[in-house]
């Protein structure tokens, strides 16, 4: 069972990233889009017209390594399949898209560090 605290941490991290995207003039289309195969944390449309499928990893410490090290190639490929599924179901199949990953580090004093990696595939 995922601990309740971790779910809260994750949700907070996704909220932080959503605000970050909006500050960069991206349009957030969906959050926590879920199908049987998995979930995409955030789907956004960049100002340049590219769909971004974003995986958010939130941590309160780096004791278990860098947050993005938790994304391996299996996870990245699943992200891609999910992205194609989303595009197909929304009538955008064939549009430009990219997979992004974001690490959010929550510090004890309430501040956050955002490490945004675009187009990780």
């Amino acid at each position: 069972m995922v601990k309740k605290k971790n779910i809260e941490t994750g949700a907070f991290g996704e909220q932080v990233v959503t605000e970050y995207l909006q500050s960069k003039n991206s349009e957030v289309l969906a959050r926590n889009w879920r199908v049987k195969e998995g979930e995409i944390d955030i789907i956004a449309l960049n100002p340049s017209g590219v769909f971004s499928f974003i995986e958010v990893k939130t941590r309160t410490s780096v004791a278990f390594g860098h947050p993005l090290e938790a994304i391996n190639s299996t996870k990245a490929l699943r992200m891609q399949r999910l992205a194609l599924a989303w595009l197909a179901t929304h009538g955008c199949f064939g549009c430009d898209y990219q997979i992004d990953a974001v690490a959010v580090l929550l510090h004890a004093d309430g501040s956050q560090t955002i490490d945004y990696r675009a187009n990780i595939l």
Partner: protein
């Protein structure tokens, strides 16, 4: 994001190839990929490099790191790239200025805490780097002695990654005390004076050392075959500096410099056990091709005790290097040639029980067993052995004698004098040992006296000797002549050579 490159060397056979280590740090998921045909040990470098960087208080870039070792087609192996990869990663991460590491060669294996460990093949690597115009090399402190042989380069010995980083950032380093190149040219442990009696075997050893003739010692257990064989290097002239460098390079690649000093001028002696395999004898291996025993014995002695006990084909695999002085190993990654100019010394018992000497009274073997035993040594191999000597059991007289036999130093002086005579005779001809006189020269320029020639021709007619044997006898006769000061071999020399070749025909 950023890019950096440094230099290292890959060893293929005896030759080094300068390898460019390039590191690119790109945005993307944290990861590490190593390109350029690495083997298992090299692929594991990732974990060593990462731990060393973190444990030295540096930051490991959590980005997509691509390390490329070019030329990409060249298979690379071993841990000697660790230091170069580590420095290049840090430089690509912009914690070391890129221009600081230009034209510097880095060699060394990293331990997890950042210490720099010794690696194999430092000398051949430096030779290759010097040819490529690299002037400065960072090497593990443990390899300093070997590295200093490369005097045209600035050698910077390092013990710890932290020292390297400090040097690259500030230019400061502890100046290691440069020890002088002190060549070792004497071995006090072994001396021919230890051998009691055995006058004919002693003479054979001396002739072998003079002319580079291969020798076989046959005798009962405990007669002193091994003792004599082990002392042959002590009567051979010391190596020239060029020869010593060649020997050190081979030993460096094989990783045997812990047993032999890199600065040794003594002729090496290698004595593989008789259970050795063909690959161990001539060199080889699947991924990394290593020199075998016959290359480690380059310019020295390859001593095989209990020769008839060797596995089938092991001794015969030496036939080609015996003729050419080199060994070419063909594997899927290419053909590699190692030097293998050695003096072969075989030792054998006369029969399985070992007591078939003299009248053979105590021997318990059947006559067929006796015949079969030495028959295991193939005819073509035996044909290449010039001196076949019976080592008799040591008698009471020899043991009781108070004065020691001649010492190695005395014998070596005679050997050097004889070799000098030969060297003058062969000046400008391309060889300098009697054993290397080509057959054509033996029949024209370097003929023995007429009477001796007639004797040999008679033997040839009687099929008592082969054509190869005919030439071999003349070569050995030249060594006898050099020892005794005859300008050309006379009948006596040829007769001695013929007798020493013996009748142990297989």
């Amino acid at each position: 994001m950023s890019l950096a490159q440094a230099q290292s060397v890959a060893i293929l056979g005896l030759d080094g190839h300068v390898v460019n280590v390039e590191v690119d740090i790109a945005d993307g998921l944290p990861g590490y990929s190593l390109l350029g045909l690495p083997d298992a040990a090299l692929s594991e470098s990732r974990e060593r490099v990462r731990s060393a960087i973190v444990n030295c208080g540096e930051i490991w870039p959590n980005r997509k790191i691509t390390v490329s070792l070019s030329p990409a087609w060249l298979p690379k192996s071993g841990s000697s790239f660790d230091l170069a990869i580590c420095i290049t990663v840090l430089s690509a991460h912009e914690t070391i200025a890129a221009d600081r590491i230009e034209n510097i060669l880095f060699l060394g294996e990293l331990s997890l805490d950042g210490r720099i460990r010794s690696v194999r093949g430092v000398l051949p690597a430096l030779i290759a780097a010097a040819k490529a115009g690299i002037k400065v090399a960072v090497v593990p402190s443990a390899n300093l002695q070997e590295a200093q042989l490369m005097q045209s380069m600035t050698i910077i010995p390092m013990e710890h990654l932290k020292q390297v980083l400090r040097w690259l950032r500030t230019g400061e380093r502890e100046i290691a005390q440069e020890f002088e190149l002190q060549w070792e040219n004497s071995d006090t442990r072994l001396d021919f004076a230890d051998v009691a009696g055995q006058s004919s075997a002693r003479l054979a050893a001396e002739i072998a050392a003079i002319g580079g003739h291969h020798i076989m010692l046959i005798g009962p257990p405990g007669a002193g075959k091994t003792m004599i064989a082990e002392r042959i290097p002590t009567i051979m002239p010391v190596l020239s500096i060029e020869q010593a460098l060649e020997v050190t390079a081979v030993h460096s690649i094989a990783g045997t410099l812990t047993q032999r000093s890199p600065l040794s001028l003594l002729a090496p002696i290698v004595s593989p056990h008789h259970t050795t395999t063909r690959v161990a004898m001539v060199g080889g291996g699947a991924h990394v091709i290593k020199p075998g025993a016959c290359s480690l014995a380059h310019y020295g002695v390859l001593f095989i005790d209990e020769a008839p006990e060797c596995g089938p084909g092991v001794l015969d695999s030496l036939r080609q290097p015996l003729e050419s002085g080199t060994i070419t190993i063909a594997r899927s990654i290419g053909n590699l040639t190692f030097p293998a100019q050695f003096l072969l010394v075989l030792a054998a018992n006369p029969c399985p029980c070992g007591k078939f000497t003299g009248r053979g009274r105590n021997c318990t073997c059947s006559s067929q067993q006796v015949r079969r035993y030495l028959g295991k040594l193939s005819g073509p191999l035996m044909d290449r052995i010039d001196l076949r000597v019976q080592v008799e059991p040591v008698g009471r007289l020899d043991m009781a004698r108070n004065e020691l036999g001649e010492s190695s130093a005395v014998i070596r002086k005679r050997v050097i004098a004889a070799r000098e005579i030969a060297a003058q005779r062969f000046a400008g001809l391309g060889w300098n040992l009697n054993a290397h006189i080509p057959a054509r020269a033996l029949r024209t320029t370097f003929k023995p006296e007429r009477e001796a020639m007639n004797f040999l021709h008679d033997e040839l007619d009687k099929e008592a000797i082969t054509a190869r044997g005919f030439h071999k006898i003349i070569r050995t006769a030249w060594s006898f002549a050099d020892l005794k000061g005859h300008p050309t071999p006379i009948m006596e020399d040829v007769f001695d050579a013929h007798t020493m070749r013996g009748k142990v025909e297989a």
